[in-house]
């Protein structure tokens, strides 16, 4: 029996398919081997505290240091670390190491320092208002891009958050003393107290006025108060009002009109004052 021979192009497909199959198999095996070697190295190292990164967050910097990575696989290991810090929707800062290539059988130490620019929070009126009076959440995100070149790229993303206390936490106005000034007027000293629980420096001018209880549309203004409080500082100051005698009635409640000028913004609100 004589058989017709298949064309050369047709017979060439068999070795091509076989070659592709072998290539795919070898690639999968070597990638699996490299992944296993590197992952086991990371876990072994972290288990004994070797190569563990130090994560440090202070008021203005987030630092990841001494992250030591070794590539025990057969492919070049590419790694890039990046980080972001945000309050609400405002980006306070970001940083990246750029792409670091670790050739097979070598190791590298990676450091990442993220500068947090808290003054960016001042640019947003609503955010600054929230920061002044409420506890807010600062979110930190860390992303690691790594891969076995050129076949697999992976990205690992994680984050954590820290509570940031109110800049004017526990803001209270309390009548401290009333002193006679002359025959017609008295001097009322009102204590202003708060604790700056944020990492921001509180700096501004507080304008205050007291509505008259006897005459409508009449207000008494106190001298503007320069407010400056470092992070975690307890602030205590006095607002002094010159009032006609008989304006303050014991047991009554008054309305304090307040304006706080800070970083180009003016916040207005009212506060109750018990006498």
């Amino acid at each position: 029996m004589v058989k017709v021979r298949q064309p050369l192009i047709s017979t060439g497909f068999r070795p091509l398919t076989l070659g592709l199959g072998i290539t795919l198999l070898l690639t999968l095996i070597t990638i699996a081997y490299s992944a296993y070697e590197n992952v086991s190295y990371v876990f072994e190292g972290f288990g004994v505290g070797e190569g563990m990164p130090h994560l440090n967050v202070n008021g203005t910097h987030l630092t990841i240091s001494n992250l030591t990575l070794a590539n025990r696989g057969v492919y070049p290991l590419s790694i890039a670390l990046s980080g972001w810090a945000m309050i609400g929707d405002v980006d306070l800062g970001s940083a990246s190491t750029g792409e670091i290539i670790i050739p097979p059988k070598t190791q590298k130490q990676i450091n990442l320092t993220l500068s947090i620019n808290l003054t960016k929070a001042y640019t947003d009126y609503n955010l600054l208002k929230t920061i002044l009076f409420n506890t807010t959440v600062a979110a930190f995100k860390i992303k690691a891009n790594f891969g076995f070149q050129p076949f697999v790229a992976a990205s690992f993303e994680s984050g954590f958050s820290r509570n940031i206390g109110a800049a004017l936490d526990g803001l209270t106005f309390r009548l401290r003393s009333v002193e006679p000034l002359n025959e017609t007027h008295i001097k009322a000293n009102i204590e202003v107290e708060f604790t700056n629980r944020s990492p921001l420096v509180v700096s501004g001018v507080l304008h205050s006025s007291l509505s008259s209880a006897r005459q409508r549309d009449l207000q008494y203004a106190a001298a503007p108060l320069d407010v400056f409080a470092q992070p975690h500082q307890h602030y205590l100051a006095l607002l002094t009002f010159m009032l006609p005698k008989g304006e303050l009635v014991s047991g009554a409640w008054y309305v304090l009109e307040l304006k706080f000028e800070t970083f180009g913004h003016v916040y207005e609100w009212r506060s109750a004052l018990g006498v």
Partner: protein, 153 residues
């Protein structure tokens, strides 16, 4: 002068061989296209009802086309099945790997894997097979095999 008649294999024997071959290939496909992806998706926690349904549906299609291709090798249906098998396999690989991008979520951590070069390598096998089947079929139909009787004398 000896006249030797061509050896003819029994049709039943041929089909029995093909059935065994089909069973072996279905078993291999079961491991590659059903057990392996299912195990991967269960292990990574990515398994959903849709993925499970996709795995089952595509595997049934692959198994059916494999059987059809191997049993009807000499028929146009066998050729069409082989081409269809290649297309289904390539499509299945693309769909099940989400185009070479998989995202795994673990309590606060997100791991995204991108393996497009590997995906194309995986898809190349069935696609090359489609081309091979077409080339072989065209070559076979243009040059019909001739059975000749050799006469020694």
């Amino acid at each position: 002068m000896i006249v030797e008649a061509p050896k003819k294999q029994s049709r039943a024997l041929v089909y029995a061989g093909r059935v065994i071959q089909a069973a072996v290939f279905v078993a291999i496909n079961y491991a590659i296209f059903f057990i392996a992806p299912r195990f991967f998706f269960i292990y990574t926690g990515l398994i959903t009802a849709e993925i499970e349904a996709a795995i089952s549906t595509y595997f049934l299609m692959i198994a059916f086309l494999t059987i059809l291709h191997l049993l009807l090798k000499d028929h146009i249906i066998g050729f069409a099945s082989a081409v269809g098998l290649g297309i289904v396999e390539a499509l299945y690989i693309y769909i099940i790997t989400n185009g070479g991008v998989l995202t795994l979520l673990y309590s606060g951590f997100t791991l995204t894997l991108e393996f497009k070069p590997l995906l194309y390598l995986m898809m190349a096998l069935p696609l090359v097979n489609i081309v091979r089947q077409i080339v072989e079929y065209v070559g076979r139909s243009s040059t019909q095999p001739i059975e000749m009787v050799e006469v020694e004398g």
